[in-house]
């Protein structure tokens, strides 16, 4: 299978993306931002469609839209009383915009399918470089504030009372999340970003009781998911995204049942 360049590219890119999503996902779950990451991915869809329309790369379009809107969307997410309605409104608007840009760009329907559901097999070497650099940037950004981000994510009230700059950390993490959503969408598509961003981390939350263990479990689940997904996709010619979704779902269901069983 590795005789094919496109499979090598796919494996390298997915490995980096899985590590990034596994790590970032732990903080998404801790900060209860699953819903927000989904909205960012819908904004990313509009960005990718905008990229097709204007002739820039879809990933660049996604980065432009997600980074540009992340702080605004983060603000919506903090006001709990209005969170659901305001986030739904923003999602609707951006999905609508995405459809408009796709229609105006006169591209075939397969472009839309790729953006929405992922297209890791068709990834070029140049895309791989870009994804690896972005993943490395995210990993370094988290490492730089690792202990501060841990405190802020797992005990925001305690962090605030210790005079941590929680406002800065919130914006910093939203930017990290925006980039992560954009690169995760390259494998599983913008509609299914939470497969890699929230399911492995949810499994980790059920099974781990320290941040390091949770990060390990989350990255492990994400890696097994994408590697097995690519392999099964190669064997069967079925969509890779389907297999990744199935594997992560099975991990989640198993962890959930184990957790419930051990609680009683």
């Amino acid at each position: 299978m590795f005789a094919w360049d496109f499979m090598q590219n796919a494996f390298i890119a997915s490995t980096f993306i899985a590590i990034t999503c596994g790590l970032v996902g732990v903080y998404v779950i801790a900060q209860r931002m699953s819903f927000l990451s989904h909205t960012l991915s819908e904004i990313g869809f509009a960005g990718a469609a905008f990229g097709l329309f204007t002739g820039i790369a879809p990933l660049d379009g996604m980065l432009l839209f997600t980074i540009g809107s992340s702080i605004f969307v983060g603000r919506l997410g903090t006001d709990e009383s209005q969170r659901e309605s305001s986030i739904s409104a923003v999602s609707s608007l951006f999905i609508g915009l995405g459809i408009l840009f796709l229609s105006l760009s006169n591209k075939s329907a397969s472009y839309a399918t790729n953006i929405l559901f992922g297209s890791i097999i068709g990834i070029s070497l140049q895309d791989v470089y870009q994804l690896v650099v972005l993943s490395a940037l995210i990993l370094i950004s988290i490492l730089l504030v690792y202990r501060y981000l841990n405190f802020y994510s797992y005990d925001p009230i305690g962090a605030q009372s210790q005079r941590l700059k929680t406002g800065f950390l919130s914006i910093y993490f939203l930017l990290i999340l925006a980039v992560t959503v954009s690169i995760a969408a390259q494998i599983v598509g913008s509609l299914l970003v939470f497969i890699l961003l929230t399911l492995p981390a949810s499994v980790a939350q059920y099974l781990g009781n320290s941040i390091q263990k949770m990060i390990g479990i989350s990255i492990g689940c994400a890696l097994v998911g994408v590697w097995t997904g690519l392999y099964l996709g190669y064997l069967t010619n079925w969509p890779v995204t389907f297999f990744i979704a199935l594997i992560e779902f099975l991990f989640y269901a198993g962890a959930y049942l184990y957790h419930r069983h051990s609680m009683h």
Binding site: L144, R147, Y154, D155, I157, G158, Q162, G208
Partner: protein, 228 residues
């Protein structure tokens, strides 16, 4: 010879939104003092503490420590924490959160310090239990351990005993008193529980609804007055 006060508050006025709370407060807290801050709900006790710790600015007056404010090490146990049943972190990991530096990992010495603090508050045997599964008293001990892991000079407890039964209250306050007496830790203890304040504190600051206040030795506290 007089020692320099650890905290000196001069002519402090604070307000919450448009409502004036404390007016012209003058207060000194000596190193090793155990001060109970009491008053009805809404008189500004927590706002006062948030002002002292630099989380908000005062409307007037000054707050001085015996070191520059940024160098002052606080241990703060806030009033509310959102630790649900599903909360995954172990007690040890929860305490470790407050060890903050750019280096991602902890040194052996820091691990040992966490173990010492867990032992000091009596939860070293359940350090691997998740916070979500701990009892109210155990959680409070973990909060206390997290607050003191940085070896603070000033420990602030904001209604930390409010949700506990009598036995757990006394156990927690006994620990705080031990830290106060053995290690010379200065304590500010916000509470509604007058008998508990009388039992453990040295001084009290009573803040009244009209912004007036009185500060006296604890033996002058009338525990029969209604401050609910």
């Amino acid at each position: 010879m007089t020692t320099k006060p650890l905290l000196k508050i001069t002519d402090l006025s604070i307000a919450f939104r448009d409502r004036k709370l404390i007016q012209h407060l003058n207060l000194t807290v000596q190193p090793g003092e155990f001060l109970a801050i009491i008053g009805e709900n809404g008189v500004g006790k927590t706002t006062l503490i948030r002002t002292v710790t630099g989380q908000r600015k005062p409307e007037g007056g000054t707050i001085q420590f015996d070191v520059p404010a940024k160098k002052m090490r606080f241990g703060y146990v806030p009033q509310f924490r959102n630790i649900s049943e599903e909360y995954p972190l172990s007690m040890r990991d929860f305490v470790e959160l407050n060890l903050l530096h750019l280096r991602p990992w902890l040194t052996k010495k820091e691990h040992q310090r966490v173990t010492n603090v867990l032992t000091e508050v009596g939860i070293e045997n359940i350090d691997n239990t998740s916070m979500g599964q701990a009892s109210g008293g155990e959680k409070q001990k973990a909060y206390l351990a997290q607050a003191i892991v940085n070896e603070p000079r000033l420990l602030i407890l904001d209604e930390s005993t409010a949700s506990l039964d009598v036995e757990a209250k006394n156990e927690l306050m006994g620990l705080v008193k031990k830290l106060n007496q053995q290690d010379g830790l200065t304590v500010l203890f916000i509470t509604h529980d007058l008998p508990l304040a009388k039992k453990y504190a040295d001084q009290f600051l009573l803040i009244r609804r009209n912004g007036q206040y009185e500060e006296k030795p604890i033996d002058q506290l009338d525990t029969t007055q209604d401050i609910q």
